[in-house]
Symmetry: C3
Subunit: 305 residues, 3 copies
Amino acid sequence: MITGTFLDEISHDIPDANWGRDEWTRDFRAMADTGIDTVILIRAGYRDIATFDSKVLRREHPHLIVADDQVGMFLDLAERHGMTFYFGTYDSGRYWHSGQHDREADLNIAFTEEFISRYGHCKAFGGWYISHEINSFDEGVMKVYERLAGHLKSLRDLPILISPYIRGVKQFGAEQAIGLSEHEREWREVFARIRGHVDIVAFQDGHVDYAVLPDYLAVNAALAREHGIACWSNIESFDRDMPIKFPPIGWRKMRYKMQAAMRAGVDKLITFEFSHFMSPNSIYPAAHTLHRRYMEFKRAADTAV
Amino acid sequence: MITGTFLDEISHDIPDANWGRDEWTRDFRAMADTGIDTVILIRAGYRDIATFDSKVLRREHPHLIVADDQVGMFLDLAERHGMTFYFGTYDSGRYWHSGQHDREADLNIAFTEEFISRYGHCKAFGGWYISHEINSFDEGVMKVYERLAGHLKSLRDLPILISPYIRGVKQFGAEQAIGLSEHEREWREVFARIRGHVDIVAFQDGHVDYAVLPDYLAVNAALAREHGIACWSNIESFDRDMPIKFPPIGWRKMRYKMQAAMRAGVDKLITFEFSHFMSPNSIYPAAHTLHRRYMEFKRAADTAV
Amino acid sequence: MITGTFLDEISHDIPDANWGRDEWTRDFRAMADTGIDTVILIRAGYRDIATFDSKVLRREHPHLIVADDQVGMFLDLAERHGMTFYFGTYDSGRYWHSGQHDREADLNIAFTEEFISRYGHCKAFGGWYISHEINSFDEGVMKVYERLAGHLKSLRDLPILISPYIRGVKQFGAEQAIGLSEHEREWREVFARIRGHVDIVAFQDGHVDYAVLPDYLAVNAALAREHGIACWSNIESFDRDMPIKFPPIGWRKMRYKMQAAMRAGVDKLITFEFSHFMSPNSIYPAAHTLHRRYMEFKRAADTAV
């Protein structure tokens, strides 16, 4: 069952729920009641928007757009519920897309130092999430991973998580998507490079047709085992199949993807993400009902065990 | 007034509300209170998604995505409220778009046999809905209609409904849309072919400009009468004019379209569809208010009579 | 703080909330509680849709789509709360885009006469809003402004407001957008032409990157002062950065834009618009929370003063 969720506080494609401390307090309680023990900040900053008033990011963007100290709040709420908090790195939205991978790494080295000096003492802090997502082998990003992983481990020796995606038809179309064997070849190369740096890989599960998802899950789990890396599945709780980008996913599809991941023997199920797409407090009413369906399913499974 | 609605349980463009039995029970009660006596399942299966665990569809898609028995639930709820349930056929999403019309018909012949063997005894079952929509004459689909209609009537001699659309500017743009006289010519040909097979035609009313909708409604009603076919109007309760595809329609437009249909003398008003777009229980709050506006209008009309 | 809002009753891109008198009564109370003293009808008619059953518009569109008398209702509700109501002109959606500027002006001359004869006695009526938006100098629209302004002032000598937009990257892309100096050049020309006709200019604030918004606000305020025209800022409360067009804006961004406008010394903050995007009664739940964040900010600022 799902025991982890991203916290999507800064996004280029998911609208802001405009929650303050009251709303987040209520939602962390709902997460705990749903069985969530792990929360992963999707990114602590994106372009000129930040989740706390960072000096490092203000040097980069003097007009930095920031309101409350969300990182402090998340760490506090996670601690109250005995959850593990993964800190998501900064995404410049540009350097690592334009060949300036060292600049992306440098910025994050300074930014994560600032994070540790401000929040390093918080008890809930228990992992790093490198937010730069890839879908196939990328030499530049490998170097970002290597430089960052070394630095993060030196700051605090905690598990490092990434959550890549599949170069699948739902985002790239039939022309530009890659098939299963090319996916396996690309990712064997990636896994060989990241072993020893990255501890957990949680593939997003929404980019390929439902019919072939089990095959991809099997390949991903096998590659991870082969390289001694933990394999989680990121069960997307939003729907990629609709013209509205994005509503909560249909329960039938969510259940199918969860069952497929469990059959593949992944180590843990997490979701992107609880608060928008499957929370009883979501701004989307279809998330409230998705939560009800999920809880019915979970209770039935708990009883069966 | 509106006395019928589609049940949109599987769609490529309307997000799932994730309702279970409790939510559907509440919404059927709301439908009954609103004056609905007819519910039409938009399609019982679409590609690899199904509304019940069909053996026929599992042969086609071994990984079939299905959760609850929604067809059984709908038949039960319809019966409790004395409603007539129309069963919507399976849409492969491919065969009838790629010249394999016989395969589309064959699949549905087996699928509707399975439906009858599982649900044929249900009291609410009172009509067939052939879900393959056309906007102009299409020889391949005519053959699907003919083969299916003969088969459906032999399984159970009940009214057969289709709900075509107009090849209008709102979907096709000025270049590819057809005008009123071409529409009339195309549909005279269709009506001549489907008479004796199809009993009811319910044109969707959202594809043309409001100014010319009355002309199309008049032509459709006249063609139906000419061929001894019942003419319903499918008053779309979603808005095709907005960048969000699709929100509940503005009440002004809905009222205008209902009045135009009534003036054209159609036999019955149905809508696509109550639960998302004009229900007090909808996931869209603007549907709750659309329902209030509709009920005020209905009460005023009932009083006037 | 924000003391004015548009009333967006007719739009090509914002879905209808389907509010009747009860819902609007409740929302005007919320506006008053939020500190709103000015309401601006975005347009009284658009193409074939109208906010009251206008004889002038029925000549143009015999099938005119109209339900309730919304203008009468808004004037009544504004009066009850001591608010000033600005009447927004008709937008044909075509004449002024196709060189027929005189026809657009003629139609509006007749339409505003009809408005005055029907609603001229209403106490809340306190301003004109010319709804034709421009982003740079446009000779044809200048003539519309000149002809309309003269006529409106002769009907009732009240402040005339326009709310232009910036030809910025968020709508036009990097290729077609114009930079700050070209914006200044274009708008110096506009201001020179409209002085003596238009009394208030309220630029929309959502078309440029956050980093450069303060520069545009400073230029706009300086140009307005230079020409003796009042400068308001139209703080957009919807988010232009998301694939969904449009959700309520993230609070961080809203706060940033408000603070930038206050620093630029504008005369008044208004928003497009309260009821959809920052009302506790909105059809969008993220607007309820945006309202909470705004009220917390407002109370803190009120206390600080």
